[in-house]
């Protein structure tokens, strides 16, 4: 196999919709590998016993989340014209994946994942709570100084403060759903995201102590340094 050094780094922007929101991070890597191979993109490979293509995701997308703002860096062993390669990649997208853009970035630029700071989300929540009640609960939550929660990480309980990870919250409004007595609410969130620990929108919903029927989370923006 031709391995060789990477000569170009391609930054690809894409959206995730149904049914690909159910894909795990690991599976998403494999999906891209196969897509790029079908599109005959000349990927650069890692060295070692099990060479694999050099792909770097900016931030893993949790299972169940939609996204309009995903980023992936692909390292190439041969130089390509991004405008020429974009339609080839698009022709190989399974349902639920839409490639927005592909552009060349400096090979020496830092790894996106290390620079990640925040992410923005649009959250739809279906609940029996009326808009005033929902808004009140959200305001009360934001007034708290600390929201201590525990997560299990590698088998160990870890305590963290959720409140400090919520950087901004806006309640957009609610409207009656077709289901009797259920309201569909929308909120926008900016939360910490990156190697220092991420906040997750559904954790915030769990803290509301409101009856929640179901919710839908879409990541709308990644913010890095």
């Amino acid at each position: 196999m031709t391995r060789g050094e990477a000569v170009q780094r391609l930054r690809v922007g894409y959206r995730i919709s149904n049914p690909l929101q159910y894909v795990s991070v690991l599976d998403m890597g494999r999906l891209w590998e196969r897509l790029l191979r079908r599109a005959q993109v000349p990927m650069a490979y890692t060295q070692g016993y099990h060479p694999h293509p050099r792909l770097q995701f900016a931030a893993p997308l949790p299972v169940g989340y939609l996204s309009s703002a995903e980023w992936l860096d692909v390292y190439l062993r041969e130089a390509v014209d991004p405008d020429e390669i974009l339609p080839r990649m698009r022709a190989q997208c399974p349902r639920g994946l839409e490639i927005k853009s592909a552009q060349t970035v400096s090979l020496n630029a830092p790894v996106l994942q290390a620079q990640m700071r925040e992410a923005e989300y649009t959250v739809q929540v279906w609940s029996e709570a009326e808009p005033t009640e929902m808004q009140g609960a959200l305001e009360a939550l934001m007034e708290q100084e600390q929201i201590l929660r525990t997560r299990v990480r590698k088998g160990r309980q870890q305590e963290y403060d959720l409140r400090s990870r919520i950087h901004a919250l806006a309640y957009i409004g609610g409207q009656p759903d077709s289901d009797d007595g259920v309201w569909e609410h929308e909120l926008h969130l900016r939360m910490r995201s990156g190697s220092q620990g991420s906040g997750r929108p559904e954790e915030l919903l769990q803290e509301l102590e409101l009856p929640i029927d179901h919710y839908r989370i879409c990541r709308t923006r990644l913010i890095w340094e």
């Binding site: 196999m1 191979r37 190989q92």
Partner: protein, 619 residues
């Protein structure tokens, strides 16, 4: 009815691995139902990751969907959490492609591969809202059919299926769907019994309700009889006389599955004639795909899927007459793309080691081979055709080529086995281990997997009892005591799932009540050791007044009517008995590509005009 996205979305947030239940994978086919006339749900009675690895269903999916008027979609068994969520939300079982409820299909086609999936079949029918018992199904319900190796003795499942298809499905699935379509458009569209009678005229189609079984007072079968003269007396499995083209646009799963690679079938059937092996008997005759055919298929599949690995599928890969040319060809044509080759089922010789070495790119993971039995005497009984020299030379070649880990497959409880054979097995394992230590280093590891032998229908051992569990335990103890050296690891199959498999594989129609009762009591996913509850099966047997020992511990008489006697696999009962007698005497029957042993396959298909002399491996 199509399941709305939002109904599904609500429950998928709360289940493990939701990717199992959504479809949309690359190369999956979504047709407009207004433009198709007959629909088939291809059902695999286990989870997505297992079902998606099945090549047979992938072949049928491809063939049916090539026809404009037909559609095939997929469905797998929901895991416990999804089952509970679906029942709570009153969501019926649906197909992955268009999310149609299973009751919307004309036909639900299961593959029966393994006895331990039988309760899942019932669970899936129940989740679909289809009556479990074929006789209770109304005219508008789908036909529930099955194919796969389990249908060579489908009797324990006879009550739940409208019909079974014997043998290879490529031709008969299209014939069936055409006949069903014609019937739907005809004057008797709602006459379900009439349709079944019509379908029973298609060669290879077995409609169990058209046969009556009578029993002797001792429980053995007195007679199996067609209900009238129109119904075929005997059946013969279907075959594809030459291998049809390999599907080259397989679905690329989005989540990891068991065999997550491209697959090309290079050969069907096996000429080795191992006497314990059901596959070796039921997949006759042997047919090869040409090297050129394999290489072209590999190129196309890689281009269409983006896989970086291709598995060459067959019962004995190194027996293909052009295997070297195939492996070299793939490495030359696809090496640039980093495509690796995997070769399951290598035979035991140094040629296989060379072959395995040629496909190992850098790292040497485990080298696997299957002596099956520990002593030469017992290997001759089962017609393994491998000497101790072959075994040691293979191990030596593997160690010399750089492998540190060897995995050995054995069986325990083979016919005529004594403790002495187990001491011999242990000695062989020790010799292989010390060979490794001498040729390699301290890192050498030998793992030994010991399965309890289960006698299967249509093999020379179909008349024999399953070994007694107390003997299994004693021999396992001997093996452990005799292999307490260095890095030798021994593992075995679980007795509790072994006896269920043994009971069902040679069972009769009366066991249908037991399968149904076990399912009602909560039995599911028997193939998963964490799910398996033998007590449910014991209770189901008690309540049905049946005793498993009748099915598993009994030596059957030569002329006993076996539940599968009318279901012809092409190999005759006389041949099987002859092979059984050879086994008892320890006589070998060499590879039948060189010397025909008269198994019956040529005669069976000569009459049907299906023999293709220059393709079949028969001499």
């Amino acid at each position: 009815m199509q399941i709305a996205n939002n109904r599904l979305e609500r429950i998928l947030t709360a289940v493990q691995k939701p990717g199992r239940y959504v479809g949309g994978e690359w190369n999956s086919i979504t047709k407009n139902w207004d433009q198709v006339q007959v629909s088939l749900a291809l059902a695999y009675p286990d989870v997505y990751e297992i079902g998606m690895s099945n090549l047979g269903l992938a072949i049928l999916y491809d063939l049916v969907n090539q026809r404009d008027e037909m559609v095939a979609e997929r469905v797998y068994a929901p895991w416990h959490d999804m089952e509970a969520a679906m029942r709570k939300a009153a969501l019926p079982l649906y197909s992955l492609e268009t999310r149609h409820a299973l009751t919307d299909f004309d036909v639900i086609g299961f593959t029966l591969q393994h006895e331990l999936t039988y309760t899942n079949v019932l669970n899936m029918l129940d989740l679909a809202g289809v009556s479990l018992l074929a006789e209770e199904r109304t005219d508008e319900m789908p036909l529930v059919i099955a194919g796969g190796s389990g249908t060579y003795n489908p009797e324990p499942m006879a009550a739940f299926f409208d019909l079974f298809v014997l043998g290879e499905g490529e031709e008969v699935i299209i014939e069936l769907l055409e006949a069903i379509l014609a019937w739907k458009q005809g004057p008797h569209a709602n006459d379900r019994p009439g349709l079944l009678r019509r379908l029973a005229q298609i060669p290879g189609v077995y409609v169990p309700s058209l046969y009556q079984v009578a029993y002797h007072p001792d429980g053995t079968i007195q007679e199996i009889r067609p209900i009238d003269a129109e119904v075929p007396e005997r059946l013969l499995k279907r075959i594809a006389p030459t291998l049809p083209p390999a599907p080259t646009r397989p679905i690329v799963p989005t989540m990891g599955i068991i065999h997550d690679r491209a697959a090309v079938e290079i050969q069907r059937g096996c000429s080795r004639g191992c006497r314990f092996c059901q596959a070796g008997m039921i997949y006759r005759p042997i047919r090869e795909r040409s090297a050129e055919g394999v290489l072209d298929a590999v190129d196309e599949i890689i281009a269409n899927t983006g896989y970086d690995e291709v598995g060459l599928v067959s019962l004995s890969s190194s027996d293909h007459s052009h295997i070297q040319e195939i492996v070299q060809g793939i490495l030359e044509r696809q090496g640039e793309n980093g495509v690796a080759v995997s070769l399951p089922s290598l035979r035991i010789d140094s040629f296989s080691v060379e072959l395995a070495e040629s496909i190992q790119q850098q790292r040497k993971t485990g080298f696997t081979f299957a002596p099956e039995a520990g002593s030469q005497r017992l290997r001759d009984v089962i017609n393994k055709g491998v000497t101790e020299d072959d075994l040691l030379h293979t191990a030596e070649a593997a160690f010399r080529s750089g492998w540190d880990r060897i995995k050995l497959y054995f069986m325990l409880g083979l016919p005529t086995e004594t403790d002495e054979d187990i001491y011999e097995m242990a000695r062989l394992i020790r010799e292989i281990y010390s060979l490794g230590r001498r040729l390699r280093n301290r890192r050498v590891q030998v793992s030994v997997s010991v399965a309890t032998f289960v006698p299967k229908p249509d093999t020379p051992f179909q008349w024999l009892p399953l070994i007694d569990p107390a003997v299994v335990e004693e021999r396992q103890r001997i093996l452990v005591n005799e292999t307490r050296i260095g890095k030798v690891r021994v593992s075995w199959s679980d007795w509790d799932s072994t006896w269920i498999e043994a009971m069902l594989s040679r069972g009769d129609r009366r066991l249908g009540a037991v399968v149904k009762r076990a399912w009602e009591l909560g039995a599911r996913f028997e193939a998963w050791s964490e799910c398996y509850e033998p007590s449910l099966w014991r209770r189901a047997l008690d309540e049905s007044n049946l005793d498993e020992s009748f099915y598993i511990s009994r030596q059957r008489e030569r002329d006993e009517i076996l539940p599968w006697d009318r279901l012809g696999v092409g190999v005759t009962k006389q041949f099987l008995w002859r092979e059984y007698e050879h086994a008892i005497r320890g006589e070998l029957s060499p590879d039948c590509r060189e010397d025909c042993h008269g198994c019956g396959i040529l005669a069976a298909f000569d009459d049907a005009g299906a023999v293709v002399r220059d393709v079949w491996g028969c001499p």
